[in-house]
Amino acid sequence: MNAVQLALVAVLLPVAVALFLLVAAPVRRAGWPAAALSLAGAIGSLIASVWLLWRQTVLPEQALLEEVRWLPEAGSSAATIGVLVDGVSASMLVVVALVATCVQVFSVGYMAHEPKRDFGRYFTWHSLFLFSMQGLVLAPNLLQLFVCWELVGLCSYLLIGFYWQKGSAGKAAVKAFWVTKLADTGLLLGLIVQYAATGSFGWGPETVSTLQAAGAALPAVGLLYFLAVMGKSAQFPLHVWLPDAMEGPTPVSALLHAATMVAAGVYLIVRAYPIFAASEAVMTAFGVVGGFTAVFAACVAVVQTDIKKVLAYSTCSQLGYMVAALGTGSFMAGYLHLTTHAFFKALLFLAAGSAIHAVHSNELKDMGGLARRMPVTGAAFVIGCLALAGVPLLSGFYSKDMVLESLLHAAQEHPVFWFPLVTCTVSAGITAYYMGKAAVLAFFGRASSHAEHAHESGPSMALPLIVLALPAVGAGWMTGVMANLWGVPDVHFAVVHFTPIGIVATTLALGGLAVAWIKHAQGGLGGLDAAFAPLGALARSGIVDRAWDTAWRRGVLVASAGLAWFDRYVVDGLMNFTGVGFLEAGTVVRRMQTGRASDYLWAISLGILLLAVYSQARMWVG
């Protein structure tokens, strides 16, 4: 099969499964068959993706574009749908398919106790998500990307609200939905502006130059897109939905809210990089927002007591890294961090899920000493934790190092990048501390009463942990290969290397881990919390949420009230006037409607007669 066919298999197999399950209600409600089908779709997609990646690695093929016209426009078509296969999409395809497959396998064990119909529903949404994400990854233009973007948003909504019977889950789903929708408005407006300015939804050089020629359009489009990225990738201050999204099942958090969907924002930047890179304002915004999010989320993570929330804020923080790195112009650093992060964060979430499954609680205080009872889970969590902390030789180290290095370079040219440099370096230490804390509290020390009877999860949950642990450890060593694949030429890579900033960050990370061990080995949540107490209070008070509530909801309410008035008295008034007018006119005209067929026939004949007379008259006149 050629590359395009493989890509089509990867994207269409899940949608076939999803559509079948959506339509064939009996199969869906039967539960297990739905899971088997969905899994088969995911595995098929994974095989096609790996094959495709292999082709792209060994065969130095150019980017392949295959599209069909859509949305007809005079003479041509305004938009196309299709697949764009190159190194970037191929590798992301594998990341998505691999994580999705692992998560689905994991879910078979994790969700086993759900009612059958919920089980089927769960896997249906999973298949739909996989399709949407693969479609997003392969999108050859921004319009298709936008469509898939909304589809993954929909899947996110559906999966967060999976336990809709629980009020909080429903609320979290709605919150996620409308926070991201607010952000997506940016993407939509950006698309409109871009299309108005260039007549294209592409991100190619000619589009960018046309945009550039259009003056203010370029930064405007870039910032509008960035607004969408902030929503999807949970950048401050639009991150508020992500912690709440933890209401969904843990595998969902692993797949959507850690590894793939939230990375879609970053992926958008990667894909449409020419548009962003052409505007300095946008790049600076990346650096500032990303840098602030990195440190802010890391600090908030410290004071979390819920293991999933810790990981959620950690995800925010790491996404901040990626955005900041992309702001420096280092495509490689940002995208590499996206890739490695996908693996180890999915691993962390799944390990956390395994632990939660064992103790039936999200709270760190209900865990403890799990490593002895659940060795595989414990090992997986520790590996993920170390990788995230940036311990040398593990994947996170390489990508984080590259991020910091790129920030250092940028800072030397633009002073404003000192801010993300400092925040990211500091948060490397904080990250190590809170992750160490979480690992120590959950897997070492004294077992709580909940954790005493915990035992290792079944093979369907253990296996994905092992599979994901491999890239979490080793993905970093493939940096050179990936650089080739992505067409970033001047990356010098060595498995063991030390740069000044790397040494600082590593030292901070190891220090953070050490502090975590010392402070928490004996259990207890205290530790450095005092230092972060104000922040903790801040986080607990939900001030950001409150601010949003005020600014966004109240604002919307007031505006809505105004619009409602306008609608009721002006729009409706016009409508009513028209309606009443027609009604009155109707009563007059109604008299013409005698209801006798011959009268109507007469009117028709009269019409024909008039036409005949008209044509005659015209012939004589003209």
């Binding site: 409607q593 005698t594 209801g595 006798r596 067929a597 011959s598 026939l601 004949s605 024909i608």
Partner: protein, 99 residues
């Protein structure tokens, strides 16, 4: 000479059809008047076909005939239905649409 003559016959038949459709109160009577008109149209088609060497004219007349048969079949089904529901087929009596 023959063409306008034929067309005149068709025109008069058409007008007769109109007159019948307007004055007939019986649904089948109206239908027959409509047949007159349709037939007039067919005559025109064939006449023009004759004078333009057009196969198309005859083909169209053929189509028109088939359509007329369809129309009559359905219309008569309606008439029978009308009769069954109200025991009468005076079309002026079927005026529910007025209100």
């Amino acid at each position: 000479m023959t063409l306008p003559l034929t067309l005149s016959v068709a025109a008069i038949l058409f007008a007769l059809g109109v007159f019948g459709a307007l004055t007939r109160r019986n649904a089948i009577g109206v239908l027959m008047s409509i047949e007159l008109m349709a037939n007039a149209v067919n005559i025109n088609l064939v006449a023009f076909a004759h004078y333009t060497n057009g196969v198309a004219g005859q083909t169209f007349a053929l189509f028109a005939m088939a359509l007329t048969v369809v129309e009559v079949a359905v219309a008569l089904a309606i008439v029978v239905l009308l009769y069954r529901t109200r025991r009468d087929i005076q079309i002026d009596l079927a005026s529910e649409m007025q209100r």
